[in-house]
Symmetry: C2
Subunit: 363 residues, 2 copies
Amino acid sequence: MSCEFTADVLDPANPDRASRRLLGDWLAFQRAFGLKPEAAAELLREYRHPAGALAVSGVPESFDRNREIAALLRTGAVAVPLRSAAYPARLAGISDPAALLVVRGDVRALSETSVAIVGARAATVYGKQTARSLAADLARAGVVIVSGLARGIDAEAHWGALEAGGRTIAVQACGIDRVYPSEHRALADRIAASGAVVTELPLGEPPLRPYFPLRNRLISGLSTAVVIVEARERSGSLITANHAANQGRDVFAVPGPLTAPTSVGTNRLIRDGAYVVLGPDEICSELGLTREPLARPQVACELSALAVEILGALVDAPASRDELARRLGREPAEFALELVELEFANRIAEDRDGRLKIASRLR
Amino acid sequence: MSCEFTADVLDPANPDRASRRLLGDWLAFQRAFGLKPEAAAELLREYRHPAGALAVSGVPESFDRNREIAALLRTGAVAVPLRSAAYPARLAGISDPAALLVVRGDVRALSETSVAIVGARAATVYGKQTARSLAADLARAGVVIVSGLARGIDAEAHWGALEAGGRTIAVQACGIDRVYPSEHRALADRIAASGAVVTELPLGEPPLRPYFPLRNRLISGLSTAVVIVEARERSGSLITANHAANQGRDVFAVPGPLTAPTSVGTNRLIRDGAYVVLGPDEICSELGLTREPLARPQVACELSALAVEILGALVDAPASRDELARRLGREPAEFALELVELEFANRIAEDRDGRLKIASRLR
């Protein structure tokens, strides 16, 4: 019995009878207790085997072991039971680990040094570029990037890791046979090809609202540290930050303008004690990772035609705003926003007389 | 003698012989030791009177008491000796207070609850608007705003306080008969009309480079707390922050994008333990000031013609970036920067399908 309980990855393609039986027990147990992780953990402590717990509670009525195993086989996923050798130790250490992880991709990715990068769905360009750039830099340092496959920051974090040739893990709030949002299906497939797509939810489960905060505890539970890139005042990312703090994970937050609603949550996290992210180096040194110090992420800001015009007009000599307007043949209000962007991107600066000039990039 | 030493404000317009003699002694002492505040403080502890110290060191050769008093009279300033009743107690408590403060305006302003707001000369629009808005909100709560009269953040802080009908103090790095930069002469006069312009430097002294870090210790020394709004990697504002910390003042820093060179210094200050400024309320509550809670400062962002066009194109229905380009008859790259600004200003947002929509302002 104890040998079964510590069985490794349960693969629906494995024809071995005992293995199929054990997988069937686990899938039934997941169907019965998958949404009550604390009750599940307690039952498993008591009965030491899913079949024991099921004998007490009864198997869900409509549950058909063979149909379920066949359905899992079609998704290409495997199942990793709690306390099996393949179950990620970090996640096993939280108070409410998933009883059964369903994993599409490489199970070993779940046990590597990893950093969660999460944030607002409705993110700003600054937030998205920062998420992508942090993910890429950390991935290059060998860190696995964990996120939630959502629109906005999450998707950028996954893409950043992939583009850097690194590995990434998506934790879903629905069954492994579904992808939410559906337009991220291709992204999910790319993630699974080198990293992993993970869920604790049974097959077919839709992405219901209450699943998201539960899912968030797995994002932080799987990770060595958590980075919140952008978060509004009331935001799911703050729930992840909370889980992370309770689980003893380092919480990092990316600072932003106090006038940006998307930075209210992150700036508050910093006030409340989160590490402030200045760049990938801080995260690595906090995690004890050695890596070549990188320059701060340079946002590859695509310049608008107007911004290029402005730079062109300042190349030969600095100009006051009025003088610049004359050179461009435009009203100052027409290019005021471009000036802000060019300033933030350190492309232009004011000289001692308040005139605009091309910024020296040799700092 | 001790009565002279604790004399109050020394006014060059006061015809009283003893007062003129004392003022002359102090001005001579300032000329001899004004740039060595620690030596000056030690001499004053030892000799308990400027004349005593001067008897040892000798009066500077070219020094003419009557000419100096007449010159001070022309500036409209008065002199406030260390340990006089009018000398601000907070400043007297630091290790290297000014031996003699030369003050144009209301000496009492130096002893009120005050917050220094300082930062980069080459500041961004975000930084300038934040400085102005914080200064205005704090001034409305009765706080005196201290700054350095420099271009950029400093000037915005002074103007913010003045526009709110509050009081502000400018600490100069040159003699009281000069204004640096010279285009801030009108601002300096407005500051002196309700608050004060202050220096420890003798008449006629130009704004030499080494005076600025010395001046910065007075900015923090005069203040209950110090707010750094924007600061580059190596910045004079960081010297002020250092002075402030050594003097036991609360240090606040305004967060900004990690991609903005003007926020590198402030974000680092936050990492190193400075309070993160989320709005004026945090500063007030930290200082134990009661005030009506204000909304976070809304940057009154002037919209460009193109930004107005964008909002107009989105009023009736959300649109993808491509659809928006069609509606505007423009290339997406032409208005990408406007979209960033409109996002940061919370005027537009992405809906669940990634389409741009007018942001609900009812958060």
